[in-house]
Symmetry: C3
């Protein structure tokens, strides 16, 4: 059987642009090592809902993924972030593989999982590990392609970090000093500075996870940070469009007023 991982990347893109080809991608069969879910094929979907199979082939894979406002690589990052933050194992094997085809590097997947352990709860990281390990093994990805546990960090933006830390300390230093301390030392002075994932992509992961889990209150800070790191309004708009499908319409409609407000308050 032809599986997506055997196809050269250009051909994957032919597939993504031709709905007729979409079924091939979704028939990727997976063995069942312990803990790895079976990925339903389009035929499986059709056996329960012919309409859902058609919407998957057409509007989702044939249309949404081809929209020019956001690259396929970014769409993969957004999709993986939604799946990991929502702990939706069933689609992970397909999307870890697709991400590697759209240009997300194994080391970046490694960092996305680590980042979301902090930003969506440790067990979501653990769940994603079970599946990513299997995908990596099947594709011959080894540890020398992964970022080391420790190493050089990106330079800290001292002024911005000092401002952030002061604001959080003032607000919550007396309520939860432990949270405040870990947030500075472990997150902003370490995790965010790991060079295996660009700050702009790390922000894209964070914002996608927040929208996908309905964490509206945390969107303004992280969307502003994402845009400071280079995410454009047009890309943000497409992130919302993409997440309507992958996190459900209601989560996106709850995020829209907040995103609108962030857009209106920024000069660009």
């Amino acid at each position: 059987m032809v599986t997506m991982s055997m196809l050269p990347r250009a051909m994957v893109w032919v597939c993504l642009t031709l709905a007729a080809c979409a079924q091939t991608q979704r028939t990727t069969t997976m063995d069942r090592p312990d803990g790895v879910p079976v990925v339903p094929t389009l035929d499986d979907v059709r056996a329960v809902s012919p309409a859902l199979a058609r919407y998957t082939q057409g509007p989702l894979l044939g249309d949404l993924w081809k929209r020019p406002g956001l690259s396929p690589r970014d769409r993969s990052i957004v999709t993986l972030s939604a799946l990991i933050a929502r702990n939706q194992s069933v689609e992970m094997p397909y999307h870890f593989n697709l991400a590697l085809e759209t240009g997300v590097k194994p080391g970046e997947i490694s960092e996305i999982i680590t980042h979301l352990a902090f930003y969506s709860g440790w067990a979501n990281g653990t769940s994603a590990v079970v599946i990513a390990k299997d995908v990596f093994a099947k594709r011959g990805i080894t540890s020398n392609q992964l970022p080391p546990a420790t190493g050089d960090l990106l330079p800290l933006e001292e002024a911005a970090e000092a401002q952030r830390a002061a604001r959080v300390e003032e607000s919550f230093g007396s309520v939860a000093p432990g949270v405040v301390q870990y947030t500075s030392n472990l997150l902003f002075r370490e995790l965010w500075l790991r060079p295996g994932l660009a700050p702009r992509d790390r922000s894209l992961v964070t914002v996608s996870a927040l929208i996908a889990t309905g964490q509206v209150a945390q969107i303004p800070y992280h969307l502003n940070r994402a845009m400071d790191h280079g995410l454009t309004k047009a890309q943000t708009s497409e992130v919302l469009t993409h997440l309507a499908f992958y996190a459900g319409w209601p989560n996106v409609f709850s995020a829209l007023p907040v995103v609108k407000d962030v857009f209106e308050k920024r000069p660009n």
Copy 2:
């Protein structure tokens, strides 16, 4: 072993009304085709919590499901919506089977899953497909009992849709034109008009999913729409009561002020 699916529907209702019988229903054994969870029996529950087994037999199956304010079929729709929107596979085999006994048609289950792919994220649809496919196969439900992928649609309520579209376009047209466009073309001019699930039931699915996932901000629009489609205040009240068990008390208490406000602003 006697399983629920072997019982005539009348006898199922005898079961639901007699707590003594509840264990029979919960001992439905399931093979383990790939990806389908084992359904714990009441004995399994009792091995960890005798109290939880008793609450399941008594207040839940013996009392809540018998309350007259909402039909068993509606309760099945509410329960399935909560389980799919919250991606809770473990109870799905039991409740897909129960839904087919309480009068939800295979084609309606198919449409509920498709609807919730849009309203709670694509991977929730995929997860539900894995389990529904197995339930359908075991009961001999074939694709000629399912709504076709395309076909005639219900008539559009032009004025109401024009008003909705204008309001969303004005609010978010500049922020996320892709979301606005898909919302009109794919959701309100297609998904909602598919005849395989009545608009009132589609609204019941949507409102149940919103309450079950804490998406409070989206409740007013969809609850009003549900009531325009025929859901009564008394039924809504029972939906909340039912969801207290299936989505947890806190989600219901967070929805209550919003529901109260919708009730107070409506003439009936």
Copy 3:
């Protein structure tokens, strides 16, 4: 292979305090009875993310769990509550076992699961049962160590309950009388009074679940109740710190303003 459950409790604490030892704990292998997830080892984590393995050994197991502000037993209760309320099966086998090592009794685990069936949705209880049953069986825990389904209840705090019931009746009695009735009869006059879990611990479970699932609106009532039952500000602060890791930073940052407000309005 040495597994955690073979170690005397003191030695587990040596393990938790020595990062070098942490891998031993995480290599606990699990058979795979139906429905029980495989627990990834630290080596599995390392195969995908060397950094996540290091963060697990160091900051999480080697540092957070050792912080003096909250006992290991309380940390286990908080962790289990987050995992059950978020339906994160993959980490449950490890943490059910760890909880039994840190001093949570089998009967208390039984009550925690029952409590969260009501406070986070029935299917979360069912999912937890599948895994706890396996852990109990492997450790030879039998039903005579579990609280009975019915029995004597703790005395009701009549005045406080009358006040609570009156307030809820006034607010929502006309909207959802069924919810109001079950809340009084089943929750506050029964579940909360079951003696198998101390009221203070029941409150700790509830507050942890609320924070872990972003149910901010329900925090004030339950945090005040928890503090009335003996949870201190310092312990609450550490609960937040602990949940930053287990429920993700955003959920904790969304809870912080609400917790701060509760703290400021209380005399102690």
